[in-house]
Amino acid sequence: MSINHNRLDLASLRARLGSSRGKEYWRSLEELADTQEFQEFLHREFPKQICEWNDPVGRRRFLKLMGASLALAGLNACSRAPAEAIFPYVRQPEELALGKPLFFATAMELSGVGAGVLVESHEGRPTKIEGNPDHPASLGATDLFAQASVLTLYDPDRAPAVTNIGDIRSWSAFLGAIRSLLQAQRALKGAGVRILTGAVTSPTLGSQLAELLKQMPSARWIQYEPASGDGARAGALLAFGTPVNTIYHFDKADVVLSLDSDFLTCGPASLHYTRDFIARRRLEEGKTEMNRLYVVESTPSNTGSKADHRLPLRPREIGSLARALARHLGVPALSAAEGSVAPEKWIAAVARDLQQHRGSSIVIAGDYQTPEVHALAHAMNHALSNVGKTVTYTDPVEAEPADPVESLRRLVKDMEAGQVDLLVIIGANPVYSAPADLNFAASMSKVGLRVHLSLYYDETSELCHWHIPQAHFLESWSDVRAYDGTISIVQPLIAPLYHGKTAHELLAAFTDQPERTSYEIVRDYWKTQKAGGWGAGQTAVAGTQSKPDSPEFDKFWRKALHDGFVPNTASPQRSVSLRTDWTSESVKRSSGPLPSGELEIVFRPDPTVYDGRFANNGWLQELPKPLTKLTWDNAALVSPATAQRLGLSHEIAWRGGEHGQVLADVVELQFQGRKVLAPVWIAPGHADDCITVHLGYGRKRAGRVGTGAGFSANTIRTSDSLWFGSGLSVTKTGGRYPLACAQYHHNIEGRNLLPSNTLNGYKKDPKFAQQEFPDPLKTPSLYPGFQYKDYAWGMAIDLNSCVGCNACVIACQSENNIPIVGKEQVMRGREMHWLRIDQYHKGEIDNPEVYYQPVLCQHCEHAPCEIVCPVQATTHSAEGLNTMVYNRCVGTRYCSNNCPYKVRRFNFLQFADWETASLKLLTNPEVSVRSRGVMEKCTYCVQRISHAKINAERENRPVRDGEVLTACQAVCPAQAIVFGNINDPDSRVAKLKKEPRNYGLLAELNTRPRTTYLAAVRNPNPELEKT
């Protein structure tokens, strides 16, 4: 995939800003073809419900479809193509060649912190997100949220216009409305002004806020992030007396101990960490060294599933374990506190292992753990002299680090007291996400004027006077910092579809220049920075009037936009020393051990819809959550033992069932006097006597996709126990609730699908995985077999690297126009993912080893699906691809029956949305949109192969290794998926297939799969190995 880095002229960038001229810029052939429809959709007041397939078709639709299908039936024999209009540009931008995608660098912000991305744009429509290889927080990979963000961009449910109490108003009307109020507040030094945002790392926004607070000293700025823990900040404060940002260097670590930290899939650094961590686990070219991971956690996580030793403990017990461990490691002045619940043997062994790797080990505490645990982790790292080697410190990346709950409490108090005249909420959705005990909604009603800026008209918007549609990050000019402080300029790929405004523009409205565009704001800010040199961005003050562009600034600006980040802006390391008196404080705060049997509750952001901000994103809703494999719902996770004790269970249903519908007991969770009903899900490996609930569900006003899905954990979440707390009571209601589960059966049934071994076992017998088939492509056969001359495409997936983060699944969905089908259909086992991550459990049910296996079309050379297709709709290409020709398929589904891997997906109904105009802009024009009644499956991203081949052939050269990246391969942070030409012995994939761990799934069926797997290896501590 050629990334078009060539010059990017400012004129066109400026043109892309919301101005009327701008729209023309990104206007594309397809979009223009249905401009009317598109406009009408934009102004539709009540968007019609999505997914008609979900409920029995209405009469009118019935007749319509009837007509259509009968017409099809009659006409397809001899039908003439309808006349089609074609719309050229009036003025075609220089760098754009019709039919060729362009790539632009920008950055996506999540909970304030950013990661660089490259966005693929077809005729001005952003269609696909790729990682930015040069950006430290991406390294070419992305997480699932970034992948899914394009769907949010085109979401027809996004707020379409500025509204005042539900009536559509103009932006200028809004400006007029607040002007007088601002005059008054200026006089009062802004005493009645409160600004509520999420975490802010954007230097520009930071400086804007600083400026605002300078003009209105008694105004207040509150930051609340429902999904990010405060432990790290408070812990650093506790340990060092100053907030620092801790950066871990897993590429230098041999032994890692995670105290409830899911560092592989959570947090702004997870992509980088995964890359580094997995790099130390790769067993290639005869390497036999691996790092070792200990994980202590209550809720099963991806990180936990990669652990060599995993210890499930209740959250508070993790604290005591940390203390016990710290004592072993000789952390000074730790009073002999209560005995740990963890087996002494375990602690001793881990301590010894850490001791043996001083300076090359890491102790990392989870974001949701208490400050004490963080402090203890810091202390242990000091004790192990990891600081400066595997652990380094920098200044915080936030513009203004603050205690979120404390400031929120204060806001509520002020509102209660009626001291707030103007509340401006930027991005956040506190009415839904604020802790229940604060009664945010109630107290907010006491505020004189409430203004809400957000993508959707949500629960908070309902209670606000003004709602301003927010511009999606792909529509915005802004800037953002990465986990290590690196700054990226956020540039828009498309003019705001819904006339959205950025935070910058909204804040500008409170200054004397209300009409400034975010483009001017961000540029001017950087001009001042350029003048004032680099340092800490947030201190500088935004220039108020636009200076003329200096040529070297233009150079800098272009480079920053082109690269996707501002060079050397990573925060410098700083050295900090432990406070001497923190331990006493810690012990003081430390609570005694929990009586066993007392239930603890754990709150976690949802692995797919996060804190609820992605609730209306169908891709993320339908994505099977790691470990539970649930879709479209959250549940109360409980360990098997505890479930048994409480008499809770779930069973498969007849309809759909097993891989589909599961009927779960409904329980009433009662916590601190608040109640919520939740379906139960038994999670092997979950800590006993505690229950995990995920945030982000139970949205009342998310949109046609997210509204009403799941239950809201926020209704029982209180500010004093944001992430966990004891005193939960559970009562069985006797009700049953249907859950949509993509994989219910995790027992491998003794089948040899996923061979695994310990490191020692691997050293003894490197070929343990191959059994009698060393090369799956050379199984004995009666047939002469075909010769694949120049290219033979193949894939190798290293199961040792896969962390099951799901990014590949969404990447595949985004690249290949894969539709979502909705909960109803998932419950019937009809989800459409071409690439799924199978997950099997080994060992005892209370704490099993978890193995991931991404399964996609294996592109068998002896494809069983092909010989049974009656119409040659699926055949083999001359390069060994198992091609699927949708337009030839009549839908007998025989191929799916005969596919032992069950990777084929069928359009049982009209799943692809052909009616919502905005979603048409999302489709990748390189891939056919499938109609009802057609089989589909993974194509190895044949469109990317063709693209690379055509480029190569035009230059009369063979395709280079690595020139074709499949969508799943490109996003994988662990680089577990490798694709290429297996005929080329020097290609990476060919080398991997020579590895002794390489094996073919179900090779004994003589299907000769082109996709092969590298068996997983664990590195347990000999001392702790079960005997």
Partner: protein, 178 residues
């Protein structure tokens, strides 16, 4: 040439044995152009009338062979010549897989030629026939048996033949006008 006014003479018998006997005698008497009509196939009647073997089996055989060869070649042409595609790594000419359709085509062609051949040889369909002019002929599809000597027979002579037929112990003799 103008058609003679009578098609022939028809004798009605009450059971098959009598008819067969009569047929023998008529043939011995030198009559050739005659036919018998019965409600069901009567054993020995055709030989009595001196009919030789039919050509139906040969037609069926030819039909079968054509179907067989045609069936296989169609598949061979499609899979090997017209659009050779790699299907699951199987050889282009997967003849074992082609056996089934070849067989079905053989049967189909043979069966069609059997029926069409039979009809053609019998000159059917022929809704109109002189014998239908005889009212009592309706019984030919019930329980009566008829022998017809056609006027085109060289030995045919209205009176003589009528007497001859009467002598065969038939129920009655009727004129069949054409």
């Amino acid at each position: 040439m103008k058609r003679p006014s009578t098609y022939g003479l028809m004798a009605e018998f009450e059971d098959p044995e009598k008819l067969v006997a009569a047929a023998h005698q008529a043939r011995d008497a030198g009559y050739r152009r005659m036919d018998a009509y019965t409600p069901f196939p009567v054993e020995g009647l055709s030989s009595a009338l001196g009919f030789r073997h039919t050509r139906v089996p040969m037609i069926v055989l030819i039909g079968g062979i054509v179907g067989c060869i045609g069936g296989f070649f169609m598949q061979y042409y499609i899979a090997v010549i017209d659009y050779p595609l790699n299907i699951g790594g199987r050889p282009l000419n997967s003849w074992p897989a082609f056996v089934v359709v070849t067989f079905e085509m053989t049967i189909l062609a043979a069966a069609l030629s059997a029926v069409l051949g039979m009809l053609a040889l019998n000159g059917l369909p022929m809704p109109h026939h002189p014998v239908f002019n005889v009212p009592r002929f309706a019984l030919a599809s019930k329980d009566r048996f008829f022998l017809v000597i056609e006027s085109t027979d060289p030995k045919f002579d209205l009176q003589g033949t009528r007497d001859f037929l009467k002598s065969l112990g038939c129920r009655e003799v009727m004129d069949v006008e054409s």
